[in-house]
Symmetry: C2
Subunit: 624 residues, 2 copies
């Protein structure tokens, strides 16, 4: 059977195949936060022509259903059909997205460690050439020379040996040997005129960031960032794991993420006229699932009790094995992980925050596609993943979206008229609401008395904006001829659950180590989200603890920062390993106390208002 | 343009391409000992239809030229042509050839070393499974368990880690770990019911031999042998090196030899219902050029002064890297080489001969496609390659051929009538003359007074069998309506040069270490040739030294025997390394004294007849 798109393209579909799968198979990607289970309601399409069967309408509103909208993942054509894909349903990945560039990374490196010491060490060699009276094998000559220099037990890969004879002769036996600490010989280059580059990568569940770095001076040459194309198969790590294991899509997910990295790198090296072979090392930071998929390792056991990753400490494997488009011999360092749900991105974050060096105790939070928390100081570190889920990135929220053009990022609601004023990224027509917008919206609705402390709409609000939708009460933030943007009670529940999970995680970790919030010297907030967060409002909804604002430090993307640090320094790699080794992971999912904490936190700001004295005061003032 | 074969096939040929190259490119292989230089005269074809240009007629006899025979390597069609390829010109490789199977290899192993200790060591592990309170990564758990067992600093390849999680769980954490001494983890298998096989390979310039061995008890399961398909590109290592470097054919040569090995293995594993994954290790023995090509390493520098191989001591690389169709993780041990022209086949030979363990001094000779000599005992070993060339395998001899069906392998000439009686392999119509036949023929012609001590035909022999050919005098051994078999004076010169090179090598080596022939306790003769050689006659022509017959030991193919030993025992691998390390290579090619020795040996049996007392006596008796 055929699918005709409104763009004119014609695709094919098999009997029993969902429209979502058929489109995906032929390179047309729809937003599909839940990975095709019919629960997120994002893969909306219209079918003006042709017979089809739908299995579920999921989150579709009755008016949408009436107008002929269906979920592509739940729709099975029964003859040739025509499909209209609305703009909001199209998944646009692969575009380079803008990120703020850290100018002070090199200062950070210097503040942590004085010296640049990349993964490859280089040693100049001036080897006596063979003569007819001394014509042992090149490798034996090479090895002997190294042993005289004190480098023993060097390992030689087949690829290294393959080019050895020619490299030595082309350079007239005066060469630079690049080797790793293990020690393993990696590259052999002529003495002069060489450049040394490295690549630091943050493989996020949602976004991928690449830094190209000059290894001679630590200079950041260029930066690239894009959405992780794996989003096609779902928004969170769980849907990815399911796709890799049950869907047999491990290699596809792996190729997808590696292709994203290569696609980011390609224009950078072209722009700066860099030879890929001069990129001599790379560092990868990602959560445990992303690191497994990046290396093509089955992430299935991460999801099964007792939640065991295949490995946390990755050997140095080559760029050839990773399929990265840099020097194929280049060693790739993976920032070590701690546990199934606390990965190298968090270790990188702790490293970049420097909390592991401070005697005072700090709290580190990374609120990205998931939420992870670390508590500790220069003596100990404990961590937990709190299953906050990706709702702050738009997933599971009817009109949720990421913080890109068109996203409502700030909201104010007039407490008298209930009229909202919206801050929209890019200033144009709003297309949805992003994480910081959600926090603002809930705070404002709460302060304006539209919703109560449970997040439930208060009946009788004198405004048309509060109305009954098909899923229950909702607040209308925006409407025009193209559509509406609402936040429903179900959405609010989801956001409440996310913020409660984060706060409960913090509470439980504190109790585990018998510390009080007031003991925290600093609160570090990392994650893509960390750039835009309104701290006061996040305290009002009870996502962040009620501490003085000057204790909070927004760090931005610490995963890429830690990756940069590890690319440049032996000490940093060692410290990352020490951090991963030292960090104690607490499995919240199996803790009954976590459930108690979580339920107490499902309240605005919290069932125990005494934990939020400033909010208590604010509410008291408001009630006056 | 097109080539029509008499078989009906039609091939194509480009402007300026030789007929030989065009045929080869399309999978039709001709005998081409010289690799296409127009000097061996073996790639004979006839062109009944079509215009063509020939650049040289090389070794073609005038009657052959008159009858329209041309050399395919020197022929360039100028329009569509028809080509007849006579049977003798067809190169048949890939067929399994029969070899004598050594029944006593296991006894040899036991006489050298009591214990079986294959390359992979196996360790049973019973690892405590993860729990929710102890859910570190699988690799970390595995590593910890190994460390508790005293196995530290184990290395883990990406492939090993890729299957780790599943293997551990499938076997319920009770596994066998196969690892190498380095130590590197290689294979992980369930505890029970496993078989262990290994493959020993002799990669000869001319023939390839594969032994499949049961590693539990050393039993030889089966044997396969074939011609090295690289013969398409020439008979000796030099033509192969030229093809690899100047012809850019390294990868092709590599794939060819690996394919030969895989093709030999395939019917064996099928016949014995063996799972390729159970073949857990392999050993390769070959001369230095063959070892380089096997591993895809440029052999070019072997041929250039100062004759330096890329390496003599090969790291353990994997079957995956080698492209062998056994367990891809299987380590492949390469028997170490000594120098550019003394390879792992000779080290294997010394090992199998046990001369390196004897206090008495022995001489080891391997007369195969080239000739190598080793002299020594349990304290020292010296070696030399003597550039004997492949004439004993038929190369460079007008009607020379290998010792296969149709080859004249023994000759007697009636001293009165000069009528020859011929022993032919397979008893059928003779097709050519092989090495042992050449030695017989020259001895007989010499004793019958047909040729003199210089190998020159004596004028006035009263027989039609001695006649003037187009290249000078020749002896007609056989003729029928299909053709003739002669040995020409040029052929005899070639054989004289080969035998002189061998004898000169022996003489010079003895002088280098100040030993006398009589000091030799044993003379070991190895090589495919070593199975059939008539010692007396080889002494008469002066190829072998004049020593009592009981000092000579024919060992057959010691390269495969040594390969078998190394497959089964750590001690044997260590001894092979010690032999290679200990052996001093003498470069004969740069020795002026070698030239003197060589010229003295270009005589039957030698210019200095006192070196051959029994031959002197024989000649004296004959002259009576």
């Amino acid at each position: 059977m055929s699918i005709k798109l409104s763009t004119g393209e014609t695709l094919e579909i098999s009997e029993g195949e969902s429209l979502l799968k058929a489109l995906r198979r032929q390179g047309v990607y729809l937003v599909s936060s839940c990975g095709g289970k019919g629960t997120c309601g994002k893969c909306r399409v219209k079918i003006p022509e042709g017979r089809y069967r739908t299995e579920s309408t999921g989150k579709l509103e009755p008016p949408a259903i009436r107008s002929g909208t269906v979920l592509a993942c739940q729709t099975f054509p029964e003859e040739d059909i025509t499909v209209d894909i609305p703009k909001e349903s199209r998944l646009v990945v692969g575009d380079v997205i803008e990120i703020s560039r850290s100018r002070d990374l090199f200062d950070l490196l210097q503040s942590l460690d004085g010296e640049i010491s990349p993964i490859l060490r280089w040693l100049p060699l001036d080897i006596p050439p063979p003569t007819i009276n001394n014509n042992i094998g090149d490798l034996e000559r090479f090895r002997k020379h190294l042993e005289e220099k004190g480098l023993k037990e060097m390992r030689f890969s087949h690829s290294f040996v393959s080019s050895l004879a020619r490299s030595l002769r082309d350079a007239e036996w005066k060469v630079y040997l690049g080797y790793t600490a293990s020690p393993e010989a990696v590259l052999l280059l002529p003495l002069k005129g060489r450049k040394r580059y490295g690549m630091a990568v943050d493989v996020g569940t949602t976004t991928i960031v690449v830094y190209l770095v000059d290894l001679a001076d630590g200079r950041l040459i260029d930066v690239g960032s894009t959405y992780n194309s794996q989003i096609r198969h779902g928004d969170d790590v769980i849907t990815r794991i399911i796709y890799a294991t049950e869907g047999g899509g491990l290699e596809e997910l792996r190729d997808t993420v590696v292709q994203d990295i290569n696609d980011l790198l390609s224009p950078i090296i072209e722009k700066h006229s860099i030879n890929t072979d001069d990129i001599e090392s790379a560092v990868i930071a990602g959560n445990t699932t992303m690191a497994h998929i990046f290396w093509g390792l089955d992430p299935g056991y991460i999801r099964e009790e007792p939640y065991t990753p295949t490995l946390n400490f990755f050997p140095l494997w080559s760029a050839r094995t990773a399929k990265l488009d840099i020097n194929p011999q280049a060693p790739v360092f993976t920032i070590p992980c701690v546990a199934s749900y606390v990965g190298g991105d968090i270790v990188a974050g702790v490293l970049a925050s420097k909390m592991h060096r401070r005697s005072g105790t700090s709290l580190f939070m990374d609120i990205g596609t998931n939420g992870e928390i670390v508590l500790g100081n220069n003596e100990w570190l404990v961590t937990a993943a709190c299953s906050a889920g990706p709702c702050f990135e738009g997933s599971g929220i009817r009109h949720g979206m990421r913080a890109t053009e068109g996203a409502i990022e700030s909201v104010r609601i007039d407490p008298k008229t209930f009229e909202p004023s919206l801050g929209v990224i890019g200033k144009g027509r709003p297309a949805g609401i992003c994480g910081s917008g959600m926090i603002d919206a809930i705070t404002e609705m709460f302060l304006a008395g539209v919703i109560d402390q449970k997040g439930t709409f208060i009946k009788g609000t004198a405004s048309d904006r509060v109305r009954d939708g098909f899923e229950g009460p909702e607040f209308l933030f925006y409407s025009d001829s193209h559509g509406e943007i609402v936040l429903t009670e179900v959405d609010i529940e989801n956001i409440m659950r996310a913020k409660a999970a984060i706060y409960a995680g913090i509470s439980l970790l504190l109790k585990k180590v018998d510390f009080m919030l007031d003991d925290m010297e600093r609160i570090y907030i990392a994650g893509g989200f960390g750039n835009y967060l309104n701290i006061e409002k996040a305290i009002i909804i009870g996502m962040l603890p009620d501490l003085p604002k000057d204790k909070f430090v927004l760090l931005g993307n610490t995963s890429i920062a830690g990756s940069y640090l590890c690319l440049l320094s032996d000490h940093m790699r060692k410290e990352a390993e020490d951090i991963a080794q030292k960090m104690t992971n607490i499995e919240l999912s199996v803790s009954r106390r976590f459930m108690d904490e979580y339920i107490s936190a499902l309240f605005l700001p919290h069932t125990n208002i005494t934990l939020f004295p400033t909010v208590k005061k604010l509410l008291k003032e408001r009630n006056k």
